[in-house]
Structures are given as C-alpha cells and as structure tokens.
Symmetry: C3
Subunit: 207 residues, 3 copies
C-alpha cells in the first residue's frame, strides 16, 4: 500500500514535469497528455520492452492512465501556480526516481539479469521517461547535459542495493535504504549544485 502511494506520487510528479515542458512548447491538449504520459511511464515501458515483459505494465493497469489524465487536467488549470510547488515537485520527483530505480532492479532480478544490468534497468526505469519527453519535444535530453546529477543518483542507489543485500539484514531494509539513498543523493545534488566532473575546461562555463 505504501509502495502504491509512493508510486502514484512519482507518477504525478513526472506527469506535471511533462505538462510543464509540453506547455512551454505550446502543444495542444492531446500533445500535453502524451508528453505527460511518456514522462511518467516511458522509462518503465522501455524497461519492459528491453526485457520482453509485454504487454507493458501501463497497459495492464488502468490506474496509471487515469492518474495521469487527472494530473494533466489539474496541472493545466493551475499551471500559473505550479512554480509555487517547485520544492514539493522536486521532492515528489526525487521520491519517484528512488522508487522507480528499485522497481526496475526488482524486474531485472526477476529476469535473472546480473547486478550491473539490474542497475542499468533501474536507471532506465527512473530516467528514460524524461529522455523520451525531451526527444518528443525536440530537445537534447536534459539529463545528458551538465546539470545537477540525476541518473548518477539512481546508479548510486542501485549499486548500494547490491552492497546492502550482502549485509545480514532482511532484504526489505536494503530495498528501502537504497530508495532513500537515491532520494537523498538527488536532493543534495540540487541543494549543493553537484554535477559530474566538467571535462571541457573552464571556458565552457561561459557558453
């Protein structure tokens, strides 16, 4: 039940981020809904396709489509006020990528993939909805550009999981701790502007 609520919070945060990008591009209602939808479930869809888990998850659970549709309506109605929610949305989004990373890892384990591939699958689940959103909006994906770390937080949390399950505790603790590591890493990154090392030299910062 708790997982379900967290899952829905993540879906809502992702959908709102999709609405904001889509409205920025002046898309119509259908376009906004599709962008919100792929932002929310695109990462899990790509994960399902890569491992052959079909029909993909969102086709088997109408709740995702309903939650996203309702979120889109509210987000459009209150678009002007969404910037007041910036911090709340950051929190939801961080919770979302934390949960999605571990959900992806779980699916990878079920598909009998190696730890490295499970971490990759978790990162894809958490991050590639945003990648598809940006491609559909004709932008280079924002997580490929030098901003605060995002995918790296997922990789960090995913790696932690495979270390923590080696400890003599119940696996559920490792699961929850790893979700928290993703969330905290992401929040710290935004708070302290943590980025990956710049490989282009100093003048790049002026560009």
């Amino acid at each position: 039940m708790l997982y379900f609520i967290i899952d829905i919070l993540g879906i809502i945060a992702f959908a709102i981020s999709g609405v904001l990008v889509a409205m920025d591009k002046r898309l119509d209602l259908f376009g906004i809904f599709i962008i919100a939808f792929v932002t929310s479930v695109g990462g899990g869809t790509l994960r399902d396709i890569l491992i052959g888990n079909t029909p993909v998850t969102w086709m088997q659970e109408e709740i995702y489509m309903i939650v996203i549709a309702v979120t889109v309506l509210f987000a459009i109605l209150f678009a002007k006020h969404l910037h007041h929610l910036r911090k709340t949305l950051l929190l939801f989004d961080s919770i979302g990528i934390g949960l999605f990373t571990l959900l992806g890892i779980e699916k990878g384990l079920t598909a009998e993939l190696s730890p490295i591939m499970c971490i990759a699958l978790g990162t894809i689940t958490a991050c590639f909805g945003g990648v598809i959103r940006d491609i559909l909006c004709n932008e280079i994906p924002v997580i490929f550009r030098r901003k605060e770390i995002y995918a790296t937080a997922c990789i960090l949390g995913g790696s932690s999981y495979f270390l923590l399950i080696l400890l003599p505790f119940d696996g559920a603790y490792a699961y929850i701790a790893s979700i928290l590591i993703v969330i905290v890493a992401r929040l710290l990154a935004v708070r302290f502007h943590l980025t990956l090392p710049n490989i282009y030299g100093t003048r790049e910062n002026e560009a």
Copy 2:
C-alpha cells in the same frame, strides 16, 4: 479482400506523406524510403512491440515493403504533381487512420486488454507512424500541435466501437461503423478547422 485494399490505400497515403516530409528535409533516397516506411508501418510496429506481438507484422508480410518501395518511387517521380492530389491523399489518409484504429483495437482485444487500452492501442497504430516520422525529421510531432483534430478522431471512433458492440447487432457492423466515424470525424475536422480547445489564451493565435 476489401480490408486488404483499404489497408494498402492507407499504407500508400502514409508513405506519400512520409515522402513529402522527407523531400522537404532534402533527405537522400535511402532517407526518403525509411521515412516513408516508418510513417506507414511505424504505428503498427510500436503497437506490436508494446503488446509483444513479435516478429512485428511488417517483417512477416513482404507486401508492405514492396508497396512502400513502389509508392516512394512514384511519389519522387511525380512529386511536383502531388499537390493536385491533396484531396485524394486526405481521403486515403482518413481511410487509413480509420482502418488502422480498428485494426489496433482488434489486436488489443486479442491481447485481452481493457477497452481503454484497446482504444489507446488503436490510436497508437493510427497516429504514431507520423510521430516517429516527425522525430526522425527533427520536428515536434505535428499531431501534438494545434491543428485540426487527428488523434481525437481515432479516440472518438475507437470509443464508438465499444458502445456500438453493446447494441444487438452483428459485431462487424460496429467495426465498419467505427471506421466510418473516424473517417467522417477527420474529414469534418479538416473541412471546418475543428481543433481541440485552445488552453493558451487569445494572443496565442497570433504566434
């Protein structure tokens, strides 16, 4: 046999629309063929991948590739005259999306998906070839922008199907009536410039 002819007409209309966009972007022969190909079969391919219906349909039926290749050759040779065919192409395209919507719904029913998901799958089948075409041509997909309704016609026809099969008639009538609803809705939309409601305020129209 009738379905087959309609299917081929739709494929031809979609392929021509792909050729026009690709030539506009000055792509070479290979690029034009690929764009025509994805415009025609991309929606069905995405549908097949999402439900795990692999190898995807076009790989099992060479007729699609042959029809598209011939269409591309003719479309390039007679490119200058294609604007005379504008109304014919609109008709073919409308017939195409009508049929493709119901084909997608049929596949969804076979995969035991719910009505909402079947409608989504039908809309993907009809509309996402054009989405992939636009992404490959580095444009924001045209059906996400405020033009005459397109995907909405598919959703309308798809929804009608699930209402009409509740009536005490043969299912085949519901199938054909729903195809016609998509076609008529699309043609009316173009004729009367029907769009989704504008959510951006009046000044937007000047942009």
Copy 3:
C-alpha cells in the same frame, strides 16, 4: 574468436563515433556514455526488439558495457588526438558494419524471416545505432542525408549473401565474402565519394 575480436573492434569504433558526436554537443559524462552506448548497441537492440529476442543481447553480455565504458574513458582522455586516427576509425567502422550486417541476417534466419527481411534486419543492426545517436543529439540522422553510401553498402553485402549461398560452396565462405563486400563497398564509397543518385536537381548542390 575471430568474430569476437571483430565484434569488439566494431563496438569500439561505434562508441568512439558516439563520443565525438556527444562531445560536439557538449554533453556531460553520463550523456557521453549513453550516446556511445546507443551508437554501439542501439542497432542490435532495435533488431532484438523487432524480432522479440529479449532480454536484448547487451543485457546478457556484460562485455559490451565494459568495453564501451573503457572506450569512452580513453576517447575523452585522448579526444584531441582522435582526428589522427580518422583512417583507423573508418576502417574499424567499416569492419563493424560488415560484421553487424551479417550478424543481423543470422538472427533473421534464426527467426525464420524471408531473405528481404533478413537483409533489412542486418541493415538495421549495422546502421540504426547511429540513427538513435543522432536522434538523441537532436540531429536528422546523418545516414538519411546525402553523404557517401553507408546503409546501401549493408544492403549490397546482405543481398550478396543470399546470392552466394546459392553457389556450391560452404556457407561460411558466403558469410565472410559478404562481410568483405560491405567493408569494401563502404571504403570505396568514402574514397571515391560515391553517393546515391541526387533527386533534387543541380542547384541543390549549392545548398
């Protein structure tokens, strides 16, 4: 063993081409890695998804991810010197598309596809990693634009395979000869600037 070495050489060449494009777009370390990764394995991934060969190949063999990660590190460190390797990289890339074309054909035969579809699958394996790279970098795919032939070399080599296996020789000769045909066709194309016929008239050359 020889196949394996050739495969790795191809992966390295593709990964380096990804790094160069990604650095040109000023992506961060994560973005560079993802672009290198999709350039290398994206074609094979699309092939696997289209025929339902899941989990996709790179998820079952960690060697790809490791080779790509190491290549990315070296490519970034020695980015300034990579233009000295232009000819070596062209050779590796040509070897790579030759091998990938035939690997794709092999997978198509295993999936019991027709010769035309096998050739399509081989061409997708060899060429669509670059297509995904370009889409993620917000460019119209370079192989769709009028440059020296690339996909055409794969189609030529793939077609040769299905002619050569009709001859009374061992199939392995046809396999190797076809790889060589792709490589030689591509190298000749670059050397003599062979392109597909220009369909846009002479003034186009000035554009």
